[in-house]
């Protein structure tokens, strides 16, 4: 029986310190924020490299922690700042890139949430992608 429905917006998990480093297969140790991005990118099957450079929309070369390449070859850089994850792209108006960022952010939200839930004793028992694009998960714990 349901009890309460809440709507929230995932903002950012405060993770930019080594105490919250996570070992992600294929990446090594990452801060929790970057680890959540990396895990999401792996699920989307995008290519990703660490510690690269990328031209931003102002044609400046920027160092990024993760460089993601979409299936269409579009490059998206990721850096972590104190107040959140920042995405760096060259063509800010590219619809393909923006769609890819949305997908990455959705997976990021999923992994941030899962990390928090697991730390509070929950286990994921089901996950599915709904026709409307939403990710649906069921978690449970026993007491």
């Amino acid at each position: 029986m349901s009890a309460v429905v809440k709507l929230i917006k995932i903002t950012h998990i405060k993770t930019a310190n080594t105490a919250h480093s996570v070992n992600v297969s294929g990446f090594g140790m990452l801060t929790l924020g970057l680890a959540c991005i990396a895990q999401g990118v792996k699920e989307l099957d995008y290519a990703v490299e660490q510690e690269k450079e990328l031209l931003n929309c102002d044609n400046e070369l920027v160092k990024v922690s993760l460089l993601i390449k979409t299936h269409e070859g579009k490059e998206i850089g990721v850096i972590e700042k104190e107040d959140g994850i920042e995405f760096i792209v060259h063509d800010i108006n590219c619809a393909i890139t923006q769609k890819a960022i949305k997908k990455i952010k959705q997976r990021y939200a999923k992994h941030v949430l899962l990390h928090e839930l697991q730390s509070q004793g929950y286990n994921k028992i089901k996950e599915e992608k709904l026709p409307n694009g939403k990710i649906r998960m069921v978690v449970e714990r026993w007491e």
């Binding site: 009890a3 309460v4 429905v5 839930l117």
Partner: protein
């Protein structure tokens, strides 16, 4: 036998998250969701279902204790 607590979560492509609790009674469900979300997001809105107004186990125990006195 233990008590099972479940949460169903839906995340859309704009990172909006909808969470629905199962197995909790009364304010326990809100407190649980507040605990989960306090470090990671802000609450947009909440909707209480009829189970919210049922007494939680802890409240029932308190009430029984009062009645015994």
């Amino acid at each position: 036998m233990g008590v099972k607590y479940q949460i169903v979560i839906e995340i859309d492509e704009d990172e909006n998250v909808e969470m629905e609790t199962f197995g909790f009674k009364g304010p326990d469900c809100i407190n649980e969701l507040k605990k989960i979300t306090k470090n990671i997001g802000k609450i947009g809105s909440e909707k209480k279902t009829k189970e919210y107004y049922e007494q939680s186990e802890s409240e029932k125990t308190k009430l029984l204790q009062k009645q015994k006195k």
